[in-house]
């Protein structure tokens, strides 16, 4: 197989994209690792790598020290984790019946139904979030109707915009398709004969779901969870727009280090920690998925 010609083809075809990704992805990320060990410059950016006074490399672990010695950042990570976890769970609950319905409808309708899930996703992200500002705002029809209903049963009117609830709604909304698609791809492959067999053996619909469908769909659940959880963890625009005084997430703090505080090294530290966690979680999801398959 590995003839010289073959090897030439391999590098001719695989080489250019590989080189591009090394230059514009791998190297920047490595630089970032280094940046987290440097001092910040007086007016933003980074201090010179070689300090002029001592003539040595000006590196420091102080930025990591700051992260680990101050609980507030860990607290924020936990808070972001909670937001992302709730988002993932809500996405799963909403997406599962939808994916199941699509997978079980007639073949000719499936493409359309899938397209209908992706379609909103092709319009601008910020616009979609912004629409929720209108829906959840105090003057919206939805909120006033809700409050009227709550009023009749004697509950105080609620505000929805600028609350953690609004952040979750926004997060669920923009990430829902990432959950539906892998679930659908998985559920579509299920053999209906299995469910028939279960029914013949006397299992009711509820049991059939928990004993047959759900265990079989676990790889799809894990894939969807990873695709929702990871992006939701690092987001900053949604808490910015919908969050009010309590919705801040770790993404906002990272953005602050680069755009408010001119502290790039500390911003790099926070990004590094976030990435390590995200990659670890993705790895875990892949591992669990593989375990459940065998």
């Amino acid at each position: 197989m590995a003839t010289p010609q073959n090897r030439l083809h391999k590098w001719l075809i695989g080489g250019p994209p590989l080189a591009y990704l090394v230059v514009f992805f791998a190297i920047p990320v490595l630089i970032m690792v280094l940046a987290s060990l440097r001092n910040s410059g007086d007016f933003g950016g980074l201090a010179p790598l070689f300090s002029e006074e001592s003539g040595t490399l000006d590196l420091t672990t102080e930025n990591y020290g700051r992260f680990f010695s101050d609980l507030i950042y860990t607290e924020l990570f936990l808070k972001s984790f909670a937001y992302a976890a709730i988002t993932t769970l809500v996405c799963l609950v909403i997406a599962y019946p939808l994916a199941m319905l699509i997978a079980r409808s007639a073949k000719k309708h499936r493409d359309l139904l899938v397209l209908l899930v992706i379609l909103p996703f092709w319009s601008n992200f910020l616009i979609r979030v912004y629409a929720w500002m209108i829906i959840l705002g105090p003057q919206s029809v939805f909120v006033s109707a809700l409050n009227r209903v709550l009023g009749t049963i004697g509950i105080e009117p609620v505000t929805l915009l600028y609350t953690p609830f609004a952040v979750i709604v926004g997060l669920v909304y923009v990430h829902l398709p990432f959950m539906v698609l892998p679930l659908y791809a998985n559920l579509e492959k299920h053999d209906p004969a299995l469910l028939d067999a279960a029914q013949d053996l006397g299992a009711n619909a509820w049991r059939r779901f928990w004993r047959v469908t759900f265990p079989l769909s676990l790889p799809g659940v894990y894939a969807g969870a990873a695709l929702v959880f990871i992006p939701a963890l690092g987001i900053f625009a949604i808490p910015d727009i919908l969050g009010g005084t309590e919705g801040i997430m770790i993404g906002n703090v990272i953005k602050q280090q680069f755009l408010d505080t001119r502290d790039w090294p500390f911003g790099s530290v926070l990004s590094m920690v976030l990435t390590v966690m995200a990659v670890a979680l993705a790895g875990l999801a892949a591992w669990v998925a593989r375990q459940s398959r065998t």
């Binding site: 591009y20 992805f25 950016g45 912004y130």
Partner: protein, 257 residues
């Protein structure tokens, strides 16, 4: 046999309403005759008229389009090559570099590219945005192309080779037409990702390179006028048209996703 309970239908309809309610609001309010975007006042086309006289917005739309087209063309070429290479040969590093940009938080990529461009003294602007967009689009194209190749009949290419075609001819005349739906789907995906990207653009933008998402972000944070609704309605129509054209050109390409 079809197993659909009423509960399943209700849940699915709820999900679709959830997905579409905001879009309906956005479109409806683009015709609302009130600057405040709060309650319905009356029907008007005025915001569309205003939009076409708003130079900031038009410039931003033009920038987005230019970036989207350039980035999707280049990343489709690279992505197709990468997808083909991963399918054909044993590559160790490539699959990792394809998957990593998709797996890591977007903000990290934006920030690291910002530092990278500064260190290399590449001034921030259209070029830095395009280079960044290509970097995150390649992976998506490669994955779509790769999955398309996986479903392909190997013997066709071999037959072409047996009939004396060079590897390049075999690729161009046999393989490429077969994977075309995947390539088109990948290109489409790259274009949408690029035109919708906010986070990475936010960090890599510079002189004269305000894109639509950046413009919309400033507008959403400041007093929002229905011009934002008008521009996003048009944008939705554009993407819808693109999807329809793509599905005419390459039926089944959407299924590849």
């Amino acid at each position: 046999m079809i197993r659909r309970s009423r509960g399943l239908w209700a849940a699915a309809i709820f999900a679709y309403v959830f997905l579409y309610a905001p879009l309906v609001i956005v479109v409806a309010y683009s015709f609302n005759d009130s600057r405040l975007n709060a309650e319905w006042v009356g029907f008007t086309f005025a915001w569309y008229g205003k939009l076409f006289h708003n130079e900031k917005m038009l410039q931003a739309a033009w920038n987005s389009l230019l970036i989207g087209v350039t980035a999707s063309v280049v990343s489709t070429v690279f992505g197709t090559m990468a997808g083909y290479a991963m399918y054909r040969f044993k590559m160790r590093l490539l699959p990792l570099l394809i998957l990593a940009p998709i797996a890591i938080p977007e903000i990290l990529m934006g920030v690291s590219l910002l530092i990278f461009f500064v260190l290399l003294n590449i001034s921030l602007g259209m070029i830095s945005i395009i280079l960044s967009h290509i970097a995150f689009c390649i992976g998506f194209v490669a994955i779509v192309v790769r999955s398309r190749l996986a479903g392909m009949d190997e013997s066709l290419t071999e037959a072409a080779r047996d009939l004396g075609a060079t590897p390049w001819m075999a690729f161009r005349l046999v393989t490429l037409p077969l994977i075309m739906p995947g390539v088109v789907a990948g290109a489409l995906m790259a274009f949408t990702l690029s035109i919708d990207d906010f986070v990475i653009t936010f960090f890599t933008a510079g002189v004269g390179s305000t894109t639509l998402p950046l413009q919309i972000y400033t507008m959403v944070k400041i007093a929002v006028t229905p011009e934002v609704n008008a521009v996003s309605t048009l944008l939705m129509m554009l993407t819808l048209a693109l999807i329809l054209i793509a599905s005419k050109l390459a039926p089944g390409s959407l299924r590849a996703q």
